[in-house]
Amino acid sequence: MILEVDSRSAVPPYEQLRQQVTALIRAGVLRPGARMPAIRQLANDLGLAGGTVARAYRELESDGLVTTHGRHGTVVAAATDEREPTPAPLLRSARRFASEARKAGAGLDDAVAALRAAFASEGER
């Protein structure tokens, strides 16, 4: 589970963090109860201001994805009905595709690029 911030992107760093963590939670990689790094740790590692990470965490909390327990830190919230989980058939297809891409020796970036290309060609039809 790696977070990456592109300092040249037009998307603000806190939003990049929010999007990536949201994706990890929605995909089930970060499961309910999983502890998040402390704000200071993440800010130090990414070379960001503490306020930037704190804002990302606040946004995630307001989305109901994480909960903060004071000194005990931030944890991934239990799944609620309000969330829109990835539909099971779609998850199954994604896993099949990931497995085949791995067998073909493709990395995540290549697999995503192939998926984008497939989506684009579907749209042209």
């Binding site: 589970m1 790094p37 740790q41 590692d45 070379g47």
Partner: protein, 284 residues
């Protein structure tokens, strides 16, 4: 004359021994043993980082110890101020702590190129340091403060021959113990939270092992300083006019003094395998 010579020769031998040991090159075998003890698999990428840290930390800690040992004598020679003479062991441990911290700060952790990356895994102090050590620091600090307070309340028996500690020195000991008790854990947390600007597994593992060594050096020397303070307080009871304190406190005081060296050596160089709990990935 002979005594004068001994006073010069003995420190010179100690300095020569410590510096010789500090500057003896950290060879490949030592690095491999250290890595094995920490459960670290060495690779070309992380070996140079580990080698640099082990060599630098050894040199800086040695200079810190020497500075602590020699500072009182230098101050005495320059200003004729002898108040620090009895603090040599305490200052040596303090120098060790500063040296260990400086080595940690001086370590350049290579960033992942232009990418800003971080692993989404918490780093907690308990992953790097046994909880009992943090608790021991606070307990010994509290005991030293309470002991100093009692020492201020009881009277001294002038007929025993020993010189009772001055009120100012007892208050100073209590203050230093309180400050150490309050700040050591913060320093340790600060080391744990220092940047880890890469996600490569080999570098993260090496960094964790190095970080653990730094935290242990700080904790070991910090606890040693606190034990010296507590030992000093307990020995202060040897000249009080309360017989039960006079007869019972010298032994734990002695244990504290001897224990200070033991904890600094044991925890300062102990291999501790970092036990970070990684969140489980979703089943495939």
């Amino acid at each position: 004359m002979i005594l004068m010579m001994l006073r010069l020769v003995f420190p010179a031998i100690v300095v020569a021994f410590v510096l010789n040991r500090a500057y003896t090159d950290v060879d490949g075998r030592f690095v491999e043993e250290w890595a094995r003890a920490h459960g670290l698999v060495l690779s070309p990428r992380n070996r140079s980082m580990v080698h640099w840290y082990l060599r630098t930390a050894r040199i800086l800690r040695a200079w810190g110890v020497l500075a602590g040992l020699l500072l009182p004598a230098l101050i005495d020679a320059a200003f004729g101020w002898r108040a620090l003479q009895q603090s040599q062991p305490f200052l040596a441990f303090a120098g060790y702590l500063v040296g260990a911290l400086y080595a940690e700060v001086a370590l350049v952790r290579p960033a992942d190129g232009e990418r800003r990356v971080a692993a989404l895994v918490p780093r907690e102090i308990d992953d790097y340091l046994p909880r009992r050590l943090v608790v021991a620091q606070q307990a010994v600090a509290a005991a030293a403060v309470v002991g100093a307070a009692i020492l201020l309340l009881v009277g001294f028996d002038q007929g025993l021959g020993g010189s009772p500690p001055s009120r100012a020195s007892v208050v100073l000991v209590a203050l230093v113990a309180a400050v150490l008790g309050l700040t050591l854990e913060r320093i340790e947390r600060w080391v744990v939270q220092r940047p880890q600007p890469f996600t490569d597994a080999e570098l993260v593992a090496a960094d964790d092992a190095i970080r653990s060594q730094s935290v242990h050096s700080v904790a070991g020397s910090g606890l040693a300083m606190l034990l010296l303070l507590l030992g000093g307080v307990l020995f202060g009871f040897a000249v009080t006019d309360v017989p039960v304190l006079r007869w019972t406190m010298w032994l734990p005081g002695l244990v504290c003094f001897l224990g200070s060296i033991q904890v600094c050596l044991y925890y300062g160089h102990r291999a501790w395998r970092v036990r970070r709990s990684l969140p489980k990935a979703a089943p495939a």
